[in-house]
Point group: C2
Chain length 292, copies 2
């Protein structure tokens, strides 16, 4: 166990599947932190070449399986649906004792898949609360995870969360992040509220403004801030939202009900009801401002 701990906290060989903004940032920061060998694969040859040229990886083999065979710790950093496929494809190639994680925003599906593949003792999901609306290796940074909360979600029944603890240590010791071990189901419930619903609401407003902004109208900073998330990658977010849809559908119904409350107050000219509705949001937001 001691050797395993050492290996996980500071793997000799770190493998990355995906060299975009997140995978590329893991590679850059791991190299800076002194990880001996970082190997990475991307489906895009140009991305592999850029990562090698900029010293983020030591080797970029042409096949993902070659990365899996080399790594002590393998990080799946593709979009969520591709991570599920890679988990299936690469599990047979993992070295004995090697650990595996991913960096997706939804955790139940991949944790369940790892359990089904018998990887419960070697896999835990990860979700770093760090990112960028920009895509690809050119959006990667050597300090993206410094100080960032990273949720680490163990497989069910894993022996006292061994792999999760090791992987949490990796995030903390190598990437200077703040790991928080959290059950995958609780993670997905929490992120539905704090991340996926905000994404949907920002896209809702952007959709509205795309149709209803008069030509030449000035947008204030309010409309700009409120729609910032809407610029996120639609294909990536389609995967995230669909993977968490059982959490999101009740949330959308709660939004509709709340919108109906505001609408009825406007229709009736009910200033008291409208003020109460606005005040609930204002009180919450001012408390958050104090914490943020």
């Amino acid at each position: 166990m001691a050797a395993c701990t050492f290996q996980a906290v500071r793997p000799h060989t770190l493998g990355l599947i995906g060299l975009g903004a997140i995978g590329g940032s893991v590679a850059r920061q791991a190299k800076l932190a002194g990880i001996a060998t970082v190997v990475g694969w991307s489906p895009e040859p140009a991305e592999r070449a850029a990562a090698a040229q900029q010293g983020a990886v030591d080797d970029t083999p042409p096949r993902a399986a070659d990365v899996a065979r080399a790594a002590d710790l393998l990080v799946l950093a593709a979009p969520p649906a591709a991570n599920l496929s890679q988990l299936d494809a690469l599990a047979p190639h993992l070295r004995p004792g090697a650990l595996m994680t991913d960096v997706g925003s939804v955790k139940r599906a991949i944790v369940a898949r790892a359990e089904a593949l018998g990887l419960g003792a070697r896999f835990a999901g990860s979700h770093p609360l760090a990112g960028t609306h920009r895509r690809g290796f050119e959006a990667s940074r050597a300090d993206l995870f410094r100080g960032a909360v990273v949720y680490v979600t163990p497989c069910a029944g894993a022996e006292s969360g061994g792999a999760a603890r090791e992987i949490a240590h990796f995030w903390e010791a190598v990437l200077e992040a703040q790991p928080v071990i959290l059950d995958a189901a609780r993670h997905d419930t929490q992120l539905a509220a704090t991340s996926h619903v905000p994404q949907l609401v920002a896209s809702l407003l952007a959709n509205f403004l795309a149709r209803h902004t008069p030509a030449g109208a000035s947008l204030g900073p309010g409309a700009i801030d409120t729609t910032r998330l809407a610029a996120s990658d639609p294909a990536l977010w389609t995967e995230i939202l669909l993977m968490n849809r059982d959490e999101l559908l009740p949330a959308l119904r709660a939004l509709e009900e709340s919108l109906g409350t505001a609408e009825r107050a406007l229709e009736m000219g009910d200033a008291g009801a409208l003020t109460a509705w606005l005040a609930r949001g204002a009180e919450w937001r001012r408390r958050v401002e104090g914490r943020a």
Copy 2:
């Protein structure tokens, strides 16, 4: 007309009804720009005292009518409903040849009231796209309007928009803003989309998060940005939203319909429809980013 132009562009005596963030900022910047006399009234004695102590006003008479009697240009800078009442109350006290404007976010109601009072040749509405979520004189700044777009809305039938042109010149020459003359109805349609709906959507999300954020959950920068507007003053926004409700009710129905599109795509697991919905918002938002 030449004397009138001079007087309006650079009034000898500027009067302010309301010394909050907006009224206080007009006073500060006008004094810095060399306006000879700035007189201001606020219902709150502490605000009058602060404005006088900090040199934003030369005099703070105890009654609003005294400000109206002194001013060459009178600016109503109270909340929208109070501005309507002040317009009624102060119209009889206006000096001959004096002009009047307001700084509210909704323009049809006050322009119609000015017309009804026979002030069509002397009144035009103003709406500076500048502000702060903070309230009161202590939130005022001497540069709040520099470079800001200010909509100026003439009364109907006003002789080739005389008052509007004068008041636009005041914003430009004294407050270094960018005035845009715009019909009040078009203003309210435009602001419903670009400002009032974003406020409602930010409050909608804040209301949701107030109820559904699990204790101890971390909020990312996305949820923070998307709800920033929700901290705005509920009483002020109740007035704004109710005054523009005929524009807002169809907008809310459009939001509901769009939310329904996203919900159906999630329910059906229709990735194509969900991506298309997200992409419409993303394309718009990325174009805006380029312009912002």
